[in-house]
């Protein structure tokens, strides 16, 4: 028996669990937890440990599919997967949710996080949810990746469609296995697994503040609206609040007066003995965070972009 391994990763909701489930021949092992005990309000289940599935390609070849948990607070599993379970994988599939505010930021984040791992293996970028949000399109991905100096294959897929996920697997495996009849595998999968393109219905159960407080190192949060008004806040220290509001006003002023430089994405304040304060801007809202000073800037940015993503969708739903 020849065994290959592929590791799937990507942000929360990018479709890792769905992708693995759609092509697996075994009941997938997924360690999803219910929304009630985790931070999600965008979706009902989130993977807390890992996803695992197996796909038979023919009588003596199979692929083991591993999926990382999306949430950053379960990142200890990322190490475990790259150094143990999937240390000998032939490639990694980065699922990128096209509805994210800045999908390229996700790519930069994961490419960096898995940088060492990717030195020895192929990366495929599989863009999901493009049926919901078609832009950025394929060409934009290519030019953006070129700019990043990342040489990789980009595929637009629907994680719920076994044929699409099989295409990604084929892209990786066909380089080393020439004897596989991919059409046959595809037909078999459609017969046994089938698939349904039910549009997922987000479940909003927690407020932005709850979600923020569940992020690693976050000690307080404040959500500001279009007119620099406080939508909600659990930051009690009045002087911290004033400071954050001043900074939010500054970001507006710079974006207006120095538009030649682009928009202000965020402002971060740090010091040796104080909590880190940050203001993250979005078109029509801002998120302020008070965080443990040990949290690094890249992690902080990733957390904020997750949170802003959710809150926009929430407004949209309301």
């Amino acid at each position: 028996m020849k065994d290959y391994k592929i590791l799937f990763t990507g942000s929360v909701c990018s479709g890792k669990t769905t992708a693995i489930r759609s092509v697996s021949d075994i009941e997938t092992l997924d360690t999803d937890a219910q929304a009630s005990d985790v931070t999600v309000r965008r979706k009902k289940n989130t993977t807390i440990a890992m996803d695992y599935g197996v796909l038979d390609l023919n009588d003596d070849t199979r692929v083991h599919l591993y999926g990382t948990p999306g949430q950053e607070r379960f990142r200890f599993m990322w190490d475990m997967l790259t150094s143990e379970f999937a240390h000998d994988a032939i490639g990694m599939v980065l699922l990128v949710d096209n509805t994210r505010k800045d999908p390229f930021r996700d790519i930069r984040f994961y490419a960096k996080e898995f940088g060492d791992y990717l030195r020895q293996r192929r990366l495929i970028i599989a863009v999901t949810h493009s049926d919901v949000e078609p832009s950025p399109d394929y060409n934009r991905y290519l030019s953006e990746l070129k700019g990043l100096g990342v040489m990789t294959t980009v595929m637009f897929v629907d994680a719920r469609d076994p044929r699409a996920i099989l295409g990604v697997i084929e892209e990786l495996i066909s380089a080393v296995e020439r004897e596989i009849d991919w059409d046959k595998v595809s037909d078999r999968l459609l017969d046994t697994n089938g698939f349904s393109l039910d549009f997922y219905k987000p479940l909003y159960e927690e407020t932005l503040l709850d979600a923020a407080m569940n992020k690693r190192g976050v000690l307080g949060a404040m959500h500001l609206g279009d007119a620099h008004d406080v939508l909600c806040s659990n930051i009690d220290d009045a002087s911290v609040k004033t400071l954050l509001l001043n900074i939010d006003r500054l970001t507006g002023a710079i974006s207006d007066k120095a538009s030649f430089m682009g928009a202000v994405n965020n402002v971060v304040l740090a010091g040796p003995d104080v909590d880190t304060l940050s203001v993250f801007n979005d078109q029509n809202q801002a998120l302020c965070l008070r965080s443990d000073k040990a949290i690094s800037l890249p992690v902080l940015k990733q957390q904020a972009s997750d949170l802003l993503q959710w809150s926009i969708e929430n407004d949209y739903m309301a």
Partner: protein
């Protein structure tokens, strides 16, 4: 080799300057970045004025704008270091460099 060269060579910054009581004391911002410097200066001075008013001990501020990052580091009560770098620069390394070379900056 100036201290700015050292930082550029280490890939930490594009350019930098020292403000003494709000006036440029020493700078390696090229002439074509004058506008950027003006924005950085105004914005960071505003930030640190707000910090002073709040009575909190913040000595480091980063403003990510477009693809650029403006950073301000307070050297002492009169001096502010300003840097322009890539938006995803490792700010911890800049902090470390400043801590290791504080005397050199104070002498500029």
């Amino acid at each position: 080799m100036t201290i700015w060269h050292d930082m550029q060579a280490a890939g930490l910054i594009h350019c930098g300057c020292v403000l003494l009581n709000g006036e440029v004391q020493h700078s390696c911002f090229p002439a074509e970045s004058k506008k950027q410097l003006a924005v950085a200066k105004q914005a960071l001075m505003y930030v640190f004025r707000s910090v002073d008013k709040s009575d909190k001990d913040y000595d480091e501020a980063h403003i990510e704008i477009g693809d650029a990052l403006f950073s301000g580091f307070k050297l002492d009560s009169d001096r502010l270091l300003i840097f322009l770098s890539e938006h995803d620069t490792n700010t911890l390394q800049i902090r470390q460099f400043i801590d290791d070379n504080k005397e050199r900056f104070l002498q500029l």
